[in-house]
Symmetry: C2
Subunit: 356 residues, 2 copies
């Protein structure tokens, strides 16, 4: 486990270096001409720093484990690819991920993120939407700048991985938004997994697919190793949803308050399982409690009481582990035995246990 | 002129047909499997229709001239390309454009668009941000689905055109947002052109570049014909900004109220020119009036009086025409003489005169 922490720490420097190269903390003409070409007229540097570099780096500077690019690098190594050749591509899943959080916070009317007010609270909603959105596209510069380092078939497959996962993440988000709006009766477990696979799993899946493609891997490897990323995302979402059902001590570490998801009426996996497994009476009462959107501690405890009565928290934890282990089993035969493969396996186990 | 109107009308059917094929009004499993592949778990059709298909088609159904895809088709013909082979790609600039308006309306806190409340007013901001954003990515399906119809070098160039213009549009938008926030002193004409080139010109430039690339055109053609699209966008922005300075009759046709830009304090080309050309006294007074954010009719008329004193409206109209004519002159030698070329030229002239 200490190995994995060290690995993440080591790679963070490389990853942040690449991000800074593709999007520096302070934009100047030299950078803009490199990234965008000579202005036909004239760039307004003050405006671009004010509305892009400053808010984006305020956000990136708050931390984040950069585990998606680390997964990308680990898979590259496990497939015998050259990490140095592909290193520019680490920015793609990472910047897209950070942008998606910034946007998600606007959509959810969030207040705080990583210990500071959300970007839209600090810089305005217009700045935050535009800054979050450019983070989906800026990393495409890694494609443009590395055009000659890869054969054309490879590049096209990589573009397709990007395109498909960027569509899927919005499909997942659409599902989640719709559920939040109260149209959440009768969500099935499989629909919950699908929503998480797309909303939370896509960018890890993109990281995994890009690693396979750029290392010259097969379509089957792309599919099955991509699935590891996807299911890691689902596992994280399941565990994240459990946190607000846990005891109050945990809220300080994750920024999610005790019982928040009960107040929100969220259909997390534990809730979905309980609604399926519970007696008619318990089921009815839990639905009542969820629809109250209560902040009353005793009512929240009552809801959690019903959920724990049906072992739904253990059920959800077990499911998270099972999903990831199943995809590992599928991908295992496609990865040659190596030290890098062992490290990848440890990383995945670490990820589900520790929820990085 | 009647020719061009007829041409647009004719192509609208084809363009809307392609959009519907890539994103139908009602999503079903067959479509989702075609677009996204089989669900690993289970799609929630109700949620996807509620949060994507319904709001997106509510918006697309409001009209729009579809002139970017029409420009794409005209350039294809003028270069001797096969419109049938490239037709799927019409959805790229069009959907991205429609998405960008939906997002722009959120950023500007807009109320109405094309005679109905903005999408975020009808469906909520979360739905609108996500729906607008997926319209940037969905059209990438045209690439994925036509992978085998083009050679790989061509496809990569087309992806690059998409990538570069999607970055630029956010650079333009960032500049405009920053200026809106009152950091608008001393904007130079060249900076205004650059902002418009990126904010308004990029998607027409993308349409033009895609047409050149997919027809097998050269890099020089891509650059210079792309520039026609870009400068058309600038010309539109200039003219759009003039509308709120015109007489009150015009507001009903464009949805922009008389004097709105004066109230907003907007640094349009006419304002920028006046601030440069005016006497010290007039300059000072105009800045005062713009900074008042007044809705008082007499003060708005006073501001417009200063602007017209320096012939700034004619100046701006002339500039719009000049920019487009200059780029046409640059591209002219690169287009073989043909009926299609004549139609393209008429289209461009029509576009700047009529502001489609």
């Amino acid at each position: 486990m200490a190995d994995i922490m060290r690995f993440l720490e080591e790679k963070k420097g490389l990853i942040d270096g690449e991000i800074m190269r593709y999007f520096p903390k302070r934009l100047d003409i030299k950078y803009l001409e490199w990234a965008m070409g000579k202005a036909a007229y004239e760039y307004d540097l003050e405006a671009l720093n004010g509305a892009l570099a400053t808010p984006i780096w305020d956000f990136l500077g708050r931390g984040g484990k950069r585990w998606r690019p680390a997964l990308f690098l680990l898979i590259t190594e496990a497939l015998g690819g050259d990490p140095d050749k592909v290193k520019d591509f680490v920015i793609i899943p990472e910047l897209a991920h950070e942008g998606s959080i910034m946007i998600d916070d606007i959509e959810d009317k969030g207040e705080m993120r990583r210990g500071r007010p959300c970007t839209h609270r600090l810089f305005g909603q217009d700045v935050a939407i535009n800054a979050g959105s450019i983070m989906y596209f800026l990393p495409l510069l890694a494609f443009v700048k590395n055009r000659k380092r890869f054969d054309e078939k490879t590049l096209i497959r990589a573009y397709e991985a990007y395109a498909e996962e960027m569509i899927r993440i919005h499909i997942g988000q659409a599902t989640d938004i719709y559920w939040h709006k109260g149209k959440a009766s009768g969500i099935r477990e499989a629909q919950y997994f699908q929503m998480c696979a797309y909303k939370t799993g896509c960018l890890a899946r993109m990281a995994a697919r890009l690693a396979v493609v750029l290392s010259g891997g097969s379509r089957e490897q792309e599919e099955k190793i991509g699935r590891i990323g996807e299911n890691l995302g689902i596992a994280f979402q399941i565990r994240d949803d459990l946190l607000s059902l846990g005891d109050e001590g945990e809220k300080f570490t994750k920024g999610k308050g005790f019982g928040d998801d009960i107040t929100e009426g969220k259909r997390s996996l534990a809730v979905i399982h309980t609604l399926k497994a519970a007696s008619q009476q318990d089921r009815k009462r839990l639905l009542e409690l969820l629809d109250m959107h209560t902040t009353e501690n005793s009512l929240i405890r009552e809801a959690i009481g019903i959920i724990t009565k049906y072992n739904a928290i253990e059920y959800a934890k077990g499911k998270a582990r099972e999903l990831v282990e199943r995809t590992w089993k599928d991908a295992d035969p496609l990865l040659p035995a190596s030290e890098a493969k062992e490290k990848l396996h440890s990383f995945i186990r670490f990820a589900i246990e520790r929820d990085i």
